[in-house]
C-alpha cells in the first residue's frame, strides 16, 4: 500500500513538474490521462516491445475466456529514462509471458501506464521483489 502511494505521489510529482516547467511537454509526458486511483493486473503475451521516443510501449495480448485476444497498449517512460534503470530494447521479446500492473486509461481504452511487471524469470527491471509485495 505504501509502495502504491509512493508511486502515486511520484507520478503526480512528475506530472506537475512537467506541466509547470514545460506546458509544451504536457501532451507527451503527462501520465494524468491514466486513472492513478486504479491498478489493474494484466496477464498476457508480449506482442511487441516498441522501443521508441518519446515513450516506449508494450503491446500485450491478453487472453479472455470465450473470446479473442485483446491487445493492450501499455505506455512506459522514455528510452533514455528506461536505459538509466537498466532496460534495453531487447528486454522484452514477442512471445514473452508477463504479468503487468498498470494504471488503466480513464476513457476505457485498452491501455494504461506501466507500473511494474513479472516475467517467467521473476520481476521485471525495477519492479519490486516478491517479498516487497504490492498487494497484487
Amino acid at each position: 500500500m505504501k509502495e502504491q502511494m509512493t508511486r502515486l505521489l511520484n507520478c503526480a510529482v512528475i506530472a506537475i513538474a512537467v506541466m509547470l516547467t514545460a506546458s509544451s511537454l504536457l501532451a507527451h509526458h503527462s501520465f494524468a490521462m491514466f486513472d492513478q486511483s486504479k491498478s489493474v493486473e494484466l496477464r498476457g503475451t508480449v506482442k511487441s516491445f516498441r522501443w521508441s521516443n518519446p515513450h516506449v510501449f508494450i503491446q500485450l495480448l491478453v487472453r479472455n475466456e470465450g473470446s479473442d485476444d485483446e491487445e493492450w497498449s501499455i505506455e512506459m517512460t522514455s528510452p533514455e529514462h528506461l536505459a538509466r534503470v537498466g532496460w534495453k530494447p531487447g528486454t522484452l521479446k514477442p512471445g514473452d509471458k508477463v504479468t503487468l500492473i498498470i494504471h488503466p486509461m480513464r476513457a476505457g481504452v485498452k491501455g494504461g501506464q506501466y507500473l511494474s511487471g513479472t516475467g517467467t524469470d521473476g520481476p521485471l527491471i525495477g519492479s519490486p521483489q516478491p517479498s516487497q509485495g504490492e498487494g497484487k
Binding site: L20, A27, N53, I125
Partner: protein, 281 residues
C-alpha cells in the same frame, strides 16, 4: 629521468594547444554520464525516491520580492486548474510543442542525464535533450552587449580554480516564460496537494556556478543567482549529480517525435508507435 622531467611541461604545452585530453592538461576527468540526484526516473516515469526525498533533495526557496511572489501564486493557481483538467483526462489547452528545458533548469531540475567535456579552452555540457552549454575558458569576456541576446542557455564563460570549474552566465531567457510569469519560470515542482515551487527571474539575472567532483561518482554544482529585479538577496542553491549506473553512452530524448498521446475530442488517447519494419507481428 630526463624523459620524466619533460613529461609534465610537454603535457601542459600540448594541453594549451588543445591536442591532448583533459587529464594530460591537468583538467579533471569528468567523463561518463551524470544525473541529478533527486530527479532520477524509474520505469514508470516517476522517481526512484519518495516524494519527501525528492522535495527535500530539490531544495527550493528563492528570496522573492513580494510582487514576484504574487505572480508566482497566480501561476500556481492557474497550473492547479490545469492539473485538475488533466486529471479528468481533459485537454487543459495552451500546449505547444517544444522540448527545450534551458538553463538553469537543465542543472537544477531536469531529469535528463548529461556529459561534461572539459578541454583547455572550453568545457561543454551535453544533455540528453540534445541541448548544449558552451562554457568558454580561454580567457574571453562575455559576448559584447551589441552582439548579445537572451537565449534558453545563456552566455557562459568560465575559469578553473584548481579542480573547480567556475562558470559565469548571463542573458538567459527561459523557454517556459508565460504571459503570467512575464519572465523566467526556471522550475516548478509540486505534490498532489498543489505545493509548488517556481522561480521567476528577469533577463538581468546573473548566475555563478562552482562545479567540482566530490568523489569519483559525484559532481556538485553550487549556484548563486543574483537578480535585483526579482530577488531580495542572492539565491544560493546546490545540486549533486551522480554517475549513471546502467548506461555508458548517451541515450537521447526526442520529445518532439511522434505523438503518443494525441488529444481526440478534448480527451487524451493512446497512439503506440508502429510496429518495427520487418517485424513478424
Amino acid at each position: 629521468m630526463i624523459l620524466r622531467g619533460l613529461a609534465t611541461p610537454t603535457a601542459i604545452l600540448l594541453g594549451c594547444l588543445g591536442t591532448v585530453g583533459p587529464m594530460q592538461a591537468g583538467l579533471p576527468d569528468w567523463s561518463g554520464q551524470w544525473e541529478n540526484v533527486g530527479a532520477t526516473p524509474d520505469a514508470t516515469g516517476g522517481f526512484n525516491q519518495s516524494l519527501d526525498q525528492v522535495l527535500r533533495t530539490l531544495q527550493w526557496g528563492p528570496p522573492n520580492k513580494p510582487e514576484v511572489q504574487e505572480r508566482v501564486d497566480r501561476i500556481v493557481a492557474m497550473e492547479r486548474k490545469r492539473l485538475e483538467a488533466v486529471a479528468r483526462g481533459e485537454d487543459p489547452g495552451g500546449a505547444v510543442r517544444a522540448c527545450t528545458f534551458g538553463y538553469p533548469a537543465l542543472m537544477l531540475d531536469s531529469p535528463l542525464m548529461f556529459e561534461v567535456l572539459p578541454t583547455p579552452k572550453e568545457t561543454t555540457l551535453i544533455f540528453s535533450s540534445r541541448e548544449i552549454r558552451h562554457v568558454y575558458t580561454d580567457g574571453r569576456q562575455h559576448t559584447p552587449k551589441d552582439e548579445l541576446w537572451a537565449t534558453p542557455w545563456g552566455d557562459s564563460i568560465g575559469h578553473w580554480e584548481g579542480q573547480t570549474l567556475v562558470i559565469d552566465t548571463i542573458a538567459v531567457k527561459s523557454p517556459f516564460a508565460s504571459s503570467e510569469s512575464g519572465g523566467v519560470a526556471v522550475l516548478a515542482f509540486g505534490d498532489v496537494e498543489g505545493e509548488q515551487t517556481i522561480a521567476i527571474l528577469s533577463s538581468q539575472a546573473h548566475f555563478i556556478e562552482r562545479i567540482r567532483m566530490l568523489d569519483k561518482n559525484h559532481l556538485e554544482d553550487r549556484m548563486t543567482v543574483i537578480d535585483a529585479t526579482s530577488l531580495t538577496a542572492p539565491w544560493r542553491i546546490s545540486r549533486t549529480y551522480e554517475r549513471v549506473a546502467h548506461v555508458h553512452r548517451m541515450v537521447y530524448e526526442d520529445c518532439e517525435g511522434e505523438e503518443r498521446n494525441p488529444i481526440v475530442d478534448g480527451h487524451f488517447t493512446l497512439a503506440p508507435p508502429p510496429s518495427p519494419a520487418g517485424s513478424r507481428e
